[in-house]
């Protein structure tokens, strides 16, 4: 184990995969000479050259589609879409081609593609650059969507995504790039589709993914001091969704709070609440609660932005309410 940043874990994994397999290549805007908007690909152009690290013009639909076509031919492209907001320009290619080609061809064509892209607000980037659109993709059969919360998963899930024969969207988060944590040395490939219990607990289940899981863990640790034992489940994958782990946890604790950075309506929390209603109904001691982003285009001004996003205080309050105002 080595303690490194989430950013470093992503970088090191890309580098290792480029070394491991000549079919792996990186495609995206400003990933080479500029070394990536968030410097995940720093140094990789110098090391691997323009054949493997391909700077593209600004044309998300074009280069994402090119990567899908290259994947159909057996390459393993890793696309960087600068932020998930810009993926909207490529959504036709992702939803109508990447997700469907295997099915439409009756299993004759596969798309071993990775799309890396960060979501997340809280950086005063305002409405168009702060969205959490991952549920758009998690909604679509044929895609896989993973969302590492900690550096170890940044490594394990990215490696798994690159080696997977299906299109996988790896959701990163602007607020997590500088977070640090222990990462296994050497080969580390996670299993896509498994949630992780970040902290066991007895009284209440708090579910999150990406940044929300990290905040939930922080809240749960603080609540220990008040005698509240919260179990934290990090989804790690939105499609497939590990319903079993979530339901098992709620069957144990009898209460659930779901934390998500996306908007509340039709979001991850809605899906999980419905799942819990089916899978743990008789065990519930309180209604399932959600802590999600306020339903507004995220404003620029800091107080407005802070008010709109889920934070530790909101999670703490809702956990206490769920426990009966304890």
């Amino acid at each position: 184990m080595t303690v490194i940043s989430y950013r470093q874990a992503l970088h090191d994994t890309l580098r290792a995969e480029l070394q491991r397999d000549d079919d792996v290549l990186l495609i995206g805007e400003e990933i080479g000479v500029f070394e990536g908007s968030y410097k995940i690909t720093a140094g990789l152009l110098a090391e691997f050259g323009p054949r493997r690290v391909r700077d593209t013009p600004i044309c998300e639909e074009g280069f994402t589609g090119v990567a899908i076509g290259a994947a159909m031919m057996g390459l393993r492209p890793v696309v960087e879409i600068m932020t998930i907001n810009f993926s909207l320009l490529a959504i036709d290619q992702i939803v109508n081609n990447a997700a469907k080609l295997r099915s439409l061809s009756g299993g004759q064509v596969s798309v071993p593609l990775v799309i890396r892209t960060p979501g997340g607000g809280g950086q005063q980037l305002s409405a168009t650059h702060s969205q959490n659109l991952e549920v758009f993709y998690a909604h679509v059969p044929g895609l896989k969507v993973v969302a590492p919360a900690v550096p170890a998963d940044a490594k394990g899930l990215l490696a798994a995504a690159i080696r997977d024969d299906d299109p996988v969207l790896v959701l990163e988060n602007l607020a997590l790039y500088n977070t640090r944590g222990e990462v296994p040395d050497g080969e580390h490939v996670a299993e896509i589709g498994r949630a992780a219990v970040l902290k066991p607990g007895r009284d209440i289940t708090v579910v999150g993914y990406s940044r929300a899981a990290v905040i939930a863990l922080d809240v749960a640790r603080r609540l220990e001091a008040d005698g509240i034992s919260a179990e934290v489940v990090d989804l790690r994958s939105l499609r497939p969704l590990d319903r079993e782990t979530v339901c098992a946890s709620v069957r144990k604790t009898g209460r659930a709070v779901i934390v998500e950075d996306d908007w509340l309506s039709y979001g991850t929390g809605a899906e999980l609440a419905a799942t819990i209603a089916e899978g743990a109904f008789d065990y519930l001691d309180a209604p399932v609660r959600r802590v999600a982003a306020a339903e507004v285009p995220l404003p620029y001004a800091k107080p407005l932005e802070l008010a709109a996003l889920p934070d530790a205080a909101a999670i703490t309050r809702v956990v206490r309410e769920s426990l009966g105002g304890a």
Binding site: G65, M73, R194, G279, F281, D282, L284, D285
Partner: protein, 360 residues
């Protein structure tokens, strides 16, 4: 025309006619099967485009790749797909080229390097560009290098993906040939009403991409232009934008009566129909006699009848295979419920009806 008979291998010319006749017979039968409800969804036919279809595919080598539009039955046939399996796909049967998953608009036959028909206008253009990228990634240019041909309709030259793809292909020097199959109508909209530059091949000039417009009713002109473009792709990794001009004989799809067409236009269409024109040309040129031509026509009808029989006999896909082919790498916990099935895992050891207050 006089040159044709001397310069061309007569057997090859007869083969082109055979393919054109097969496509014509297949498409007429597909239209009939659609009206008899054997075929569902959308069904777009190559009627009137046979010379273009056969000319383009004749220029392709076995190792080249083809990405098509949703009007692609003829291309699948000319590429070598079994007519029975193509018809079975239109019928939505288990033996269809796409195992009944794709239908008319999504014919896949990787064995013949047909990497799909595409239902979303222009969706195939970035993919074909990516396939050319993959070829260039693996191998340099050369006389034996494979290339990619990407078909698109006239109206497709107005979408962003077309321009983004051409820019990338030219910038990165990819072995791709983009072919605008200009049938002069995007659904019911004439080219002149949709494109500020109606000489569509000129749109490649923005990308310093060589281009050419050819008569899509002339199978040999189409073939020669496509062959030159493919050679440029394989030998120089220089992409080309080719435009073939023809006219579809029927509506946009089987259900479109094409009322937007004037009587004069319809009359002109019948006059310029490439199939009887090529037939007459071969008969006049002494390549085919009337009897041999009639035999080819009969053979085409027979092949299509056999294709229909094959499709009729092929079973519908088993519902138990519904979730097959969605993912290549199996996943943990993937939900495979049918409508109304429970979503959540079994509530093992449930405390009892209306229990509330579980073992917390």
């Amino acid at each position: 025309m006089e040159d044709m008979e001397t310069a061309e291998d007569p057997a090859l010319l007869r083969e082109y006619y055979r393919q054109m006749a097969l496509i014509r017979a297949f498409e007429l039968r597909a239209a009939e099967m659609y009206t008899r409800a054997r075929i569902g969804g959308y069904c777009h036919l190559n009627l009137g485009e046979e010379a273009t279809v056969v000319g383009l595919t004749a220029a392709l080598r076995a190792e080249d790749y083809l990405f098509a539009t949703y009007r692609e039955h003829g291309y699948a046939l000319a590429r070598g797909a079994d007519p029975g399996k193509v018809m079975a796909e239109l019928f939505g049967r288990a033996d269809g080229v796409s195992r009944g998953r794709g239908g008319s608009m999504h014919l896949f036959d990787p064995e013949h390097r047909l990497l799909g028909g595409y239902g979303i206008v222009g969706g195939q253009i970035p993919l074909a560009t990516g396939a050319a990228f993959a070829l260039a990634y693996k191998n340099g240019p050369g006389p034996d290098a494979p290339a990619v041909m990407c078909l698109l309709g006239d109206a497709t030259t107005n979408i962003g993906a077309f321009h983004e793809s051409l820019n990338l292909a030219a910038l990165w020097r990819l072995p791709a040939v983009y072919v605008i199959v200009n049938n002069q109508l995007g659904m019911g909209t004439p080219v002149e009403a949709a494109s500020a530059e109606p000489e569509l091949w000129k749109r490649g000039c923005s990308y310093r991409m060589p281009g050419q417009r050819v008569d899509g009713n002339d199978v040999l002109a189409v073939r020669d232009a496509a062959r030159a473009a493919l050679d440029r792709a394989r030998e120089q990794h220089q992409p080309t934008l080719l435009e073939t001009v023809s006219y579809r004989l029927r509506g946009h799809s089987v259900v479109d009566p094409a009322r937007y067409r004037t009587a004069e236009e319809a009359e002109r269409l019948r006059r310029e129909d490439p199939l009887p024109a090529f037939r007459a040309r071969l008969v006049t040129g002494g390549i085919l006699d009337e009897q041999a031509a009639a035999a080819i026509d009969a053979e085409a009808d027979k092949a299509v009848a056999a294709a229909v029989d094959f499709a009729e006999a092929s079973p519908a896909p088993d519902v138990a295979t519904l979730f097959d082919h969605v993912y290549a790498t199996p996943v943990a916990g993937g939900y495979r419920g049918l409508p109304g099935d429970p979503v959540a895992p079994d509530q093992a050891a449930r405390p009892g009806p209306g229990g509330g207050g579980g073992p917390a």
